[in-house]
Amino acid sequence: MEKKERPLSPHLGIYKPQLTSVTSILHRITGVGLAFGTGIFIWFLIALGWSENCFDCFHYFITSFAGRLVIFFWMLGMAYHLVNGIRHLIWDMGYGFKIEDANKSAIVVFIISIIVAVSSVCVAY
């Protein structure tokens, strides 16, 4: 098919970032990150089921500085995706669509997800 040069609507990049657009793209970024994060607990489970040697290798990584950093950002992403996911489910029920409400809930999501992430890391160690 012949490709015609049609006018395009402005790309997202030209808009000033807003709370609503930032929370939206963060939901997607954390979602993709968490999909890769599943590799950590799959590795944990397989190592634990396989042998002690195999688990020691996992344990060596996860208790290293890099491993602890991974755990921290993993929990941060998980907390955000969890709390913002609940915000999405509330939207699905038809509530909170006014712009000022969406902006307020965005702030609430940031605060709660940081609290949840930090407390889960504190509980873990």
């Binding site: 993709v32 489970l45 397989i46 755990i71 998980m78 907390a79 489910l89 873990a124 160690y125």
Partner: protein, 133 residues
């Protein structure tokens, strides 16, 4: 539909089926919500209970933790809900950003395969741990 425009023996509904929106979109949307709701309590359990075992426990402590029937069952549920939810979500992301049809189909195939394989391997591992304990 007795007007002249509709000459075919095929009814308009039959002609429309399988075209446009009459596919699996609703099921995808619905299952994403179903798994999301299941994942609310499961993720809270994971963040406040499982991560301690993953991040910090020795071999013996981790074995002991996962041999508990409660944690083993919750782990299997978490694995299934998470990987199903991830496969659904990644499909949307791929559809949004990968425009070459062959690459798009290959990527979605790979994601579904990886998520399914990850779930099967994880469940098998949980069962191995239960049998060891």
């Amino acid at each position: 539909m007795s007007d002249k425009k509709h000459k075919s023996i095929i009814s308009p509904l039959k002609a429309a089926r399988g075209m446009g929106a009459d596919k699996s979109g609703f099921h995808h949307w619905w299952m994403q919500r179903v798994t999301a709701i299941a994942l609310i309590p499961l993720t809270i359990w994971f963040m406040f209970c499982a991560v301690g075992a993953i991040a910090n426990a020795s071999y013996d402590r981790a074995l002991e933790w996962l041999s508990s029937p409660l944690h083993a069952v919750l782990m299997i549920l978490y694995v299934i809900a998470t990987l199903y939810h991830a496969a659904l979500g990644l499909k949307v992301v791929i559809e949004d950003y990968v425009h070459k049809e062959s690459l798009k189909i290959a990527s979605i195939f790979f994601v579904n395969f990886a998520c399914f394989a990850g779930a099967v391997a994880s469940i098998y591992a949980v069962l191995l741990v239960s049998l060891k304990g």
